[in-house]
């Protein structure tokens, strides 16, 4: 495996810097929210993590389509790497969403469309991994994985729409008296800046993690290749 290419070094370094800046913006630059207090700060990274989860999922679907139409094992690697990152960040999204909800609505879980859709997406991701686990042949695994990635990606927005429709027709009152409450608060300009900056930072985080994970995959392939050579020698 080649040593870390310059591009990746730069990207990783830049990502670290951005992350540090994002932390500053979230904890210092952004003001404390008037009603919710400090816990509102969780929102910035909570949404950013959710964004990475969705982005990762999109990449899985696109990689799947490319793999099925043009072929190339590389695209399967991209899909698996993206699923892994997606699982992690969607988990972060769900957990932070739950923690944010607790002091605000006095409940660890709100059945609101976004939280539920994130959970469904996580379940699709996990199903994807379980599907791959059960297949020996790498080509079959890549093909079926690609198909499920596409199918899953299409279903998730539909799930979101159906649950949101459910809520507008039957608003569920949980804790607070406001049926439309979904953690809404007024965003001051500084908050907006911190929010957008977090999204940017996390996008860089996704890109670097993806690249590193792909390198890990190359390394793993090399090891497999060597194993075969040893066994056949």
């Amino acid at each position: 495996m080649k040593p870390m290419p310059a591009g990746l070094r730069v990207l990783t370094g830049l990502t670290v810097v951005l992350f540090g800046l994002a932390l500053y913006m979230v904890f210092v630059y952004a003001p404390r929210e008037v009603v919710m207090g400090e816990v509102q700060r969780v929102f910035y990274f909570h949404v950013a993590a959710g964004w990475v989860g969705a982005l990762a999922f999109l990449v899985v679907a696109i990689a799947g389509i490319i793999y099925l139409t043009r072929g190339g094992r590389r695209w399967d690697h991209v899909a698996v790497a993206s699923v892994e990152i997606g699982v992690v960040f969607t988990l972060i999204n769900i957990a932070s969403g739950s923690i944010w909800a607790r002091p605000i609505w006095n409940t660890w879980w709100t059945w609101d469309p976004r939280l539920v859709t994130a959970t469904v997406m996580e379940l699709v991701y996990i199903a994807y991994l379980m599907l791959r686990q059960g297949i020996e042949d790498p080509d079959r695994r890549a093909k079926l994985g690609a198909v499920y990635g596409i199918v899953g990606f299409i279903s998730v927005p539909m799930t979101f729409l159906s649950i949101r429709l459910l809520r507008t027709i039957h608003p569920v009152v949980i804790g607070s008296g406001d049926p439309t409450a979904e953690g809404a608060f007024d965003m001051t300009p500084r908050m907006l800046q911190a929010f957008l900056f977090s999204l940017l930072t996390f996008t860089f985080v996704y890109a670097s993690l993806l690249w590193h994970r792909l390198r890990l995959q190359s390394l793993a392939d090399r090891v497999e290749e060597l194993k075969l050579r040893v066994l056949s020698a």
Binding site: L68, L144, Y148, V151, T159, S162
Partner: protein
């Protein structure tokens, strides 16, 4: 022969070929459906298992939820669709598994017809089996809970809901049987993906049972139609990649 006449001849010949291509396609689908139905009629394995399972699920729900004789309509549609969802999994698993056992899929793969015919054939057959189960479960449910379920609106929802389920389920079942975990994997793959259809079916059914105005029900029907159309199209295109050579 004049040019115009030649052109007309060629167009007729081409459209004739097109028509015969279509006819071959439809005939292939019909043959597949007939084959599955014939196999089922010989043993009633699938539908029988699905039926018994459905009744047992209803029984379980009855005691788990302590259902009253006069069911609230929200619960009715919920219990109905959960029952169909579970029974459907059973049916899909068995349908694909028996295909594998008999190795009949190999013979089908050799036929010179577009692979999507294979998809449509299997999906139609699975859909029919689900409908057959629904045809028995619905009146039975109505009997057990003194509620009339055989109404045109509800039947429409059952048709559309089971269609979407069969459309995605057939694709995913074909994938699941190729794995080590096989039967267990299908619900894991299917349920998160079929959720929008399930929600829409439950709400639409509930709407019809409660006699809600059409405006209240229409968004759910639209969602169901969208689900069905999108997933039939997507599954049809992807099926070729999924079938095992």
């Amino acid at each position: 022969m004049s040019e115009a006449a030649e052109r007309t001849d060629r167009t007729t010949a081409a459209s004739g070929q097109l028509a015969s291509g279509w006819r071959q396609y439809l005939r292939a689908i019909a043959a597949l459906v007939r084959k599955d139905i014939a196999a089922e009629v010989r043993s009633w394995e699938l539908v029988g298992a699905m039926l018994v399972f459905s009744l047992l699920v209803i029984l379980l729900f009855n005691f788990a939820l302590e259902l009253q004789v006069q069911l609230r309509s929200e619960i009715t549609s919920g219990v109905l669709w959960v029952t169909l969802t579970f029974a459907g999994t059973l049916g899909l698993n068995r349908a694909m598994a028996s295909e594998r056992e008999r190795n009949s899929l190999d013979g089908l793969l050799l036929t010179p017809v577009d692979r999507s015919a294979l998809y449509f054939g299997k999906t139609l057959a699975n859909w029919l089996f689900m409908l057959l189960v629904a045809a028995i479960v619905l009146p039975l449910f109505g009997l057990l809970y003194s509620t009339n379920l055989v109404s045109p609106g509800l039947l429409l929802v059952v048709l559309m809901g089971t269609a979407g389920y069969a459309a995605v389920g057939t694709l995913l079942a074909t994938m699941a049987i190729q794995t080590r975990t096989r039967d267990i994997l299908l619900p894991i793959l299917l349920f998160p993906v079929v959720l929008p259809a399930l929600i829409a079916a439950v709400k639409a059914s509930d709407g019809y049972l409660q006699g809600l105005p059409p405006d209240a029900i229409r968004p759910w029907l639209n969602l169901l139609v969208a689900f069905d159309v999108i997933f039939v199209a997507v599954a049809m295109m992807l099926y070729d990649s999924v079938v095992q050579e």
